[in-house]
Symmetry: C2
């Protein structure tokens, strides 16, 4: 019987696709093995187990998200950059409903690649805030507000937490206006 020709990368990438299709919670080694045409234990030749896979998936998703945020920021400044980055963030989460929750796993301090991806994503937000004149210690707080608001919106949206039929896109626009107002009046000390 011919080999399947898997590598750790193949496995993680297929896991990402599968997660997007069936949902983060239904991503299972069993389903992944079936998808790859392989018996379940064979996966252990490429990943150390379910937890390690989740970890690798988090790295992948964080890096992709950082890439898209970076690309979105290019050529924009101020409120414009804020909109572009946040919109890219939300678009990624909607396009990859399985990957996105995976990215929420806290970066493993022992994994340099994971750390780097996380810092890259956060770095884009710092750059946006620099456009508001927000730097240094206050920027730490501002980054946290950005992440909280955008992540919160995106995850409530994904969970079906917005019950009313009212236009969700418009609500997101208002949220961005709100963040803009907040950052324009952000303390500098």
């Amino acid at each position: 019987m011919p080999r399947a020709g898997l590598t750790p990368d193949t496995v993680v990438r297929e896991a990402a696709r599968l997660a997007d299709e069936v949902g983060h919670d239904r991503l299972t080694l069993a389903a992944l093995a079936t998808r790859l045409g392989v018996a379940l234990p064979s996966l252990y030749k490429h990943v150390r187990g379910a937890d390690a896979l989740a970890q690798r998936l988090s790295v992948l998703a964080t890096a992709e998200l950082a890439d898209e945020m970076t690309a979105a920021a290019a050529g924009h400044a101020g409120a414009d950059a804020l909109r572009a980055v946040a919109t890219a963030y939300r678009a990624y989460a909607r396009r990859h409903p399985g990957r996105y929750p995976a990215a929420q796993r806290a970066p493993d301090p022992a994994d340099a690649e994971h750390q780097a991806a996380g810092e890259r994503a956060v770095g884009v937000v710092y750059a946006v805030l620099r456009g508001y004149g927000v730097t240094g210690e206050p920027a730490v707080d501002a980054v946290r507000m950005f992440r909280s608001a955008v992540h919160g919106f995106v995850s409530l949206e994904a969970a079906g937490g917005f019950g009313l039929p009212q236009d969700v896109d418009r609500s997101f626009e208002r949220l961005l206006d709100g963040l803009d107002a907040a950052f324009r009046s952000w303390p500098t000390h």
Copy 2:
């Protein structure tokens, strides 16, 4: 052998305590049964299964959260009310790390009690916004921003998503200042 004397309520409440102790993801029917001094299948006499338990837990947590938000809002107005309610929200999430994620489950449209609890929690936020003169359709968007920011902050905090050692309490205060700025300039049409 004497009976354990369980009721659906006993079971759900113990599940809530257990979830707070071991974490939402490690709340398992097996562990719950052990905790209650009963064999696992016996639980099925009181709850329909793991999913139904999660549902009941969501109702419990949502109602508790709504209660605490309501209590916190009493006697406050404007920015003061905003702070009080948001702080109560965060305090609940920190005090009940297992219940809080359970509350994020979207209210079941078929469960009137669940719907009511959700609406009660959201109602407190509407009341806060009324203090800013924000009502009607724009209030829908504002409520969503409030929920996004506070839920996002709280869940990133719980997930260990704030890597830097920088004071998290202060960041939350700044977030509240930011929300205040946003709501003070909220559009009225």
